[in-house]
Symmetry: C2
Subunit: 260 residues, 2 copies
Amino acid sequence: MNRKKLKIVKIGGEILDSQHELEKALDFFAQLQGNKILIHGGGKEATRLSVKMGIEPQVIDGRRVTSDKDLEIVTMVYAGLINKRVVAYLQSFGCNSIGLAGVDGNSILSEKRKKINIDYGWVGDVVEVNSTLIKILLEQNITPVFSAITHDKKGNLLNTNADTVASEIAIAMSNEFDTELLLCFDKSGLMTDITDSKSIVSKINFNIYNQYIENGIIKDGMIPKLKNGFNALENNVNRVIIGDYHIIKKNCTVFTELFI
Amino acid sequence: MNRKKLKIVKIGGEILDSQHELEKALDFFAQLQGNKILIHGGGKEATRLSVKMGIEPQVIDGRRVTSDKDLEIVTMVYAGLINKRVVAYLQSFGCNSIGLAGVDGNSILSEKRKKINIDYGWVGDVVEVNSTLIKILLEQNITPVFSAITHDKKGNLLNTNADTVASEIAIAMSNEFDTELLLCFDKSGLMTDITDSKSIVSKINFNIYNQYIENGIIKDGMIPKLKNGFNALENNVNRVIIGDYHIIKKNCTVFTELFI
């Protein structure tokens, strides 16, 4: 059977912090032909708002916690300001899009992370992506644009990792589509030497990923980002690419592709 | 031809400022059978956020202006915090709903109000309601929940009057549905004497409305609210009712009904 293609693009915080970069990335995205979904992260806007409101970030054992006030702020900034701003740009570029949070149409159901040693507060782990609404929108040529605010169906909104949301959406959509997951961040790909722009790893498999973690080449935020990518590949996503927002363009040649 | 029925319910700021009242109103709304759409206003949350951020409301000739910063705040509060909070409640009440701003799916196109004597800033007047997306959602039993943030398709979000948005949606949907517009606010209806709860006017037509304006019985925010209601009736909306949120319940008997 000839399955339809679908690109799932995640843009990270760094792009959102520069109006120029954001417009360029969204222009590339608007020009993408065929079925596509955008997921966006947060950027520094939430931190700026917290500072203005005098809210101190809560950190327990070095890990950030989403307090009641933090949840209000990320809901306002991610699901409100950034999500609607992105959709407004896309509409102006002729891409009919719809801004969604996971609570909308019950599209991303999650559960509050259980308190074991650390209580992360209003942080959610994805339980289920309801692809029915997403498919209906794609059939109407309306592009879904997701912020990573999900819900538990008990009336609570939950702050969720945007890479995970992108990966879980890609997995859920792979039932019907040939899926390609593009995770954009501020580098052109995975680098073995952060000071050398020529050290981009063009291909990485799960074994090398684990070796690189042991060697300290892959660390911090890159670990979960790549883990989300490998998880997608293991669950029927056809292709996973990591790089800067130029990977949205068809002719981009510099990026890191994941293999299992 | 037997047309389907559709209720368009607008809840105002007063309900949004009390969690108890909001939950009750949304519980009533969730229990409504058949096709329905919710539009919500803003409440005092936006003012509270402005104060916290040290943003002074801009007032020109006694009329409030939406500055760049004000637009950011109403987008965060109306399209983000309140919209997603309302949808989260509805989901928990078993009502599958989707939170939208007018920019989403290009559902409400507006134009920036022209500067004649006063420059209102980022205020939009509705040009067109695109009912295609709304109809598709209703067919899927997904209830649209609108904040009154619209767009101009040039990349700009615009702050729009929520009563007007409700009225324009009701008008647009009247092409296919038998429509009933319920405008909820903090009173049980139009009162001839604000100090006497028994002075509710059960029926009002356009002539009496104009007389009441002349006599000073109808004034301030009630003038545009009723005007939006009469405009809806003149444009094929079948029924318009004004009252407190109990009018969402089927057996409510105290309200003001508009006639032309």
